[in-house]
Point group: none
Amino acid sequence: MRLSDAIEQFIKTMLTQAEQEVELKRNELADYFNCAPSQINYVLATRFTPDHGYIIESRRGGGGYIRIFRMGQDTGEQLLYLLNERVGDAIPALEASHLVMQLEERGFIGHCEAALMQAAISPQALSLPIPATMKDALRAKLLKAMMMEVARNCGAQKA
Amino acid sequence: MRLSDAIEQFIKTMLTQAEQEVELKRNELADYFNCAPSQINYVLATRFTPDHGYIIESRRGGGGYIRIFRMGQDTGEQLLYLLNERVGDAIPALEASHLVMQLEERGFIGHCEAALMQAAISPQALSLPIPATMKDALRAKLLKAMMMEVARNCGAQKA
DNA sequence: AATGCAATGGTCAAAGATGGTCAGTTTTTG
DNA sequence: CAAAAACTGACCATCTTTGACCATTGCATT
């Protein structure tokens, strides 16, 4: 298995439903996984960004630390926030993809739904002769329409 | 025997009745057959296309892979037919909607998935300042992308 | 306080590990 | 022999991992 994935899993295992926050020592973790300390930064940078729904806080020097917070989840409110604030009138491909991942991680949608949504907002599905800004707008509309559907039907089961 | 055929057989042997999916490393396989890595792509491109009932998914970089999914015999054929004959390169809104309903009726997708797809191809989601013909083309791409996803994940389980 | 050092974490560019493309060459087929 | 299929290699794109060097903080010593 990829090192990055192992580290990602390790961290996500610590961040259970109960624990919204985890603190770790970069060097210790790197030591545990037998890798360069900067590898930890790579994992954080590629899998624990705000886009993914996480906030990182850290301190250097003696007694330094890295804290990872999972952004709060108040089902209904949260979903509305994601819709209005995050999606807005336009959203780039990568950000949209991260958002869908987040929806799945938080249990708003199942794996199948997530895959469908990813397919719909994928570059292939949207490969048209129109400017990128228009694609971002289209992606936003697609996401909103699909998320509305989720909120109406399937989301009810979860929350 | 031709190299391509040997590689094709090799892969198909891994994809037994039980195994609907196989993962391989391009370079390893090329090494095993003593051929150029791109030969693998050639085989995949000529013998494992969606038209043949397969779906390919891959990832580059360290820990990269190529995954091959076999669509259910029946499911694959029917989906393919729908994709090529009914969807094509463009499809009007109403027809697309009917198609999705059919997909649900036939059990290819669940109610949730159907609703998501309907939302994605709905006029609201596609309300853009582009000509109707382009919208039909977009709808076709959306449908194809989503149906491929269905074939990859859920379709295999069903049929 | 001021200084210096040890303990942390951060950055970034380079190297490593894979897979993708495509044009051109060789082989097979009709 | 011409067309189609098979094959290759050079070059590209993407993702991961590492290491050298930098920044910050706390503490011990002046």
